[in-house]
Amino acid sequence: MKEEILRFHSVTLKVKNEKVLNDVSFCVTSGEVIGLLFRNDRGEKELKSLIRFNSQISNGRIYFENNLVNNYYKSDLSANRVAVIQEEVSLIPGLSIADNVFVMRRGFRKFHIKESVLENQLERALEEIGIQLDIHKPVERLTVLERCITELIKAWLGGNRLVILDYLSNFMSPRLLWKFNQIVRHMADKGMAFLYVCHHHEEGFRYTDRLILFSDGMIKKKFDKDDMTEENIRPFIQYFKANKGMAKREEDILFEAKGISCEGREEISFRIQAGKTTTILDMDNQLMGDLIGILSGEIIPDRGRLILEGNDITESTVSDRLREGIILMPEDPIRNFLFPCHSYMENLTFLLDRKLGTSILPRKYMRSIRDEYGRLAGDSIDAKDITRLSEEQLYMLAYLRVRLYHPKLLVLVQPVMNETMYGRQNILRLIEMMQGEHITILILTTAVSDNLKVSDQLLIARKGKIVAEYSEREFSSFTDG
């Protein structure tokens, strides 16, 4: 019979007199992988914290391994045996895998440690679990997959029956994600339970046994395996309908990479048509770094050529890129693209001096920009302190800056990564706004997520080179299927 590991019963949590978790009830049993999907981030942080630590709740009860560990009238702030695997590495560099697994765990009290004994124990444990791992490899040289496996084994041997897998797709390519999930399933069969926090329902449907959909700190729906269909989730999510007819389509090639290569790696070639949106899906995260460096001008390729509108821009540097009409919007643009100490208008017009060739913009220009963009940005355009604005307003600012500059090519790095369901829809709408302005877009991503909804062309990269190319018609057919 399935052993109950965690049970939330009618848990409500108030922070500053506002309910961040409202009447949350769910149960996790051994051998299960339960998906948690948050439509917005309200209550997400608090829920994860309550699973790990028994801090004060406003109502309800929490049971861990069938023991009442937290309730509305008594919370002892103790910790539950729950491990977390997330982007942040929990292993200590400089120590061996065996040290990380055995020594750095709660309750280890030996003073004299024999490395060989620990290694033997670890090998035996790995054999028992049925996982292969080079235990002599230094922790700092482990690949992402090996690191996560090590953390998983550490959790298992540390007696943690429940593991939170926190947004794995943030740092794992689809292939790695699939591989790791095979191991997760294997460990679930051995009696562990997993809470799989994901960005997208497609990922949740694929890898979990049950999926719990949260919105505004409340459970909206629990999907059993046989409920996991697009039809069933449709009433709960806002489907983005790309109005691709708006953008003018031109068949001319705007940008071309011809056999470019860095530091002896594979040569890559691709072409981007003017006015279209191309997505490069890097399956194993081997191409992304080089491509970002090359497109931003930070890296000059050893071989090959970059052609923009027939001009060779291979040798140009970071400062030339803007002049040439290429803007690269990094991942998490709110933190990496905006200036928190500047006002909304200063952020909006930040790049204009390069375009107009003057460092001081005439007042009449500013007035006219304020009038035109005020209609899109609303009252926030007058904000002096942009840190008080919502994420939605800040994303709008980042994209409006691009719209104002109107580049020939906009490169978006992981544009919808780490976003909630609402956040993704918002960003897709902003991308559509860019398409409406006939801006050619290149999306670099390690996960398909919702990017295809705004794409006209999909290029698949594996082992550092482009291995497949699909038109919108082709990838629409396989995503629908």
Binding site: D23, K74, I219
Partner: protein, 346 residues
């Protein structure tokens, strides 16, 4: 001393320690007036440590339990909890504990369960017709229909008679899942005459537990699933265009039974859902309010589950317009009916 069960005892010891603090302070004052400066310095440090420890102990063993009791009382006054009030971890005194135990006895929990049970039967029958009379009459109609060769009428009458018999015959609080599911199949059979192919029913459960027990032998309160199925048909599926699907899924863990009744009907809006769940959070919603705003069947089942098994169990509703409604019931695993009718052998 400070960790005793009763708050009164803890307060007594706390007062003693405070008195001791006052005495030491008095001594310290005396030393300040004499030449024992070094001694007074040491004593000052000791006094500070003593004060801090006393404050911590006061917070841990007095303030927190008083706060916990206050939270329990607030929720009891809002009818949100029942058990917790009578079994507080830190009652004020031994006498208070005895008074609460007596009160609980006087409230006669079983009587309350019986009232709720009767109410559920009333809901199922929908009127005050003598069920025995009705059952016998239905049997007679069935016999007449068979003689006249009207097999469909005979079948329908038999199903209706069986439904009434189940409702009135099982006098205990708990029935097996098998019995309750058979009653639902029977109820569905009757409803099929009205709705035809517009509704379909799916029942799924684990085939058996590892220790060889049949999941259908676990016990649940009588008429606990049927009112929810009835709600799903009348409020969810009846107004839906196209085919309606009703799913009953039963899952078990090592300690709990989870029954999910789902429909793909019209669902309900957020305000209505919030109202339903708010009422379910209370153990005894006022009758007037319940009848005025509906949802009495759901509340009745919820109250019976919580009265029988405790505050950690009950019903939750999830819904959204166009996405149907899920009603989740959580109960402990009960293998045998206890003499008092409550869940035992969990």
């Amino acid at each position: 001393m400070l960790r005793g069960k009763y708050l009164a005892g803890r307060m007594k010891w706390f007062a003693v320690f405070l008195l001791l603090l006052a005495v030491i302070q008095f001594l310290l004052l005396g030393m300040e007036l004499t030449r024992w400066k070094l001694m007074s310095g040491i004593l000052m440090v000791f006094l500070l440590m003593y004060f801090l420890i006393l404050m911590y102990l006061g917070y841990r063993w007095l303030y927190l339990p008083i706060k916990a009791n206050s939270r329990i009382k607030t929720r009891f006054l809002k009818s949100q909890v029942f058990d917790d009030f009578f079994h507080m971890q830190c009652p004020f005194s031994k006498e208070d504990e005895a008074v609460l135990a007596m009160l609980e006895e006087m409230l006669d929990r079983n009587n309350m369960v019986a009232i709720a049970q009767k109410e559920s039967e009333y809901l199922a029958l929908q009127n005050q017709i003598n069920p025995h009379f009705l059952y016998n009459t239905l049997e007679s109609i069935r016999a007449e229909a068979l003689i006249a060769g009207e097999e469909q009428i005979a079948e329908m009458t038999e199903a209706l008679a069986t439904f009434f018999r189940y409702t009135i015959s099982k006098v205990g609080h708990l029935v097996t899942l098998d019995d309750e599911l058979s009653n639902i199949e029977n109820y569905y059979f009757i409803q099929r005459y009205r709705f035809g192919d517009r509704i379909s029913l799916q029942i799924s459960y684990d085939s058996g537990t590892e220790d060889g027990e049949d999941i259908l032998m676990y016990r649940i309160p009588k008429l606990s699933i049927q009112p929810i199925v009835e709600n799903a048909i009348y409020h969810g599926l009846e107004k839906k265009m196209g085919g309606g699907l009703l799913k009953i899924r039963i899952q078990t863990t090592d300690s709990h039974l989870v029954i999910m009744v789902s429909d793909n009907g019209i669902g309900m809006d957020e305000a209505r859902l919030e109202e339903v769940n708010r009422k379910l959070a209370c153990l005894y919603p006022s009758q007037d309010e319940s009848r005025r705003k509906g949802g009495i069947a759901l509340q009745n089942v919820n109250s019976r589950i919580r009265l029988l098994f405790g505050d950690g169990y009950g019903i939750k509703v999830y819904s959204r317009p166009g996405a149907g409604t899920d009603v989740e019931m959580i109960m402990p695993l009960v293998r045998e009916e206890r003499a008092d009718g409550a869940g035992g052998n969990v």
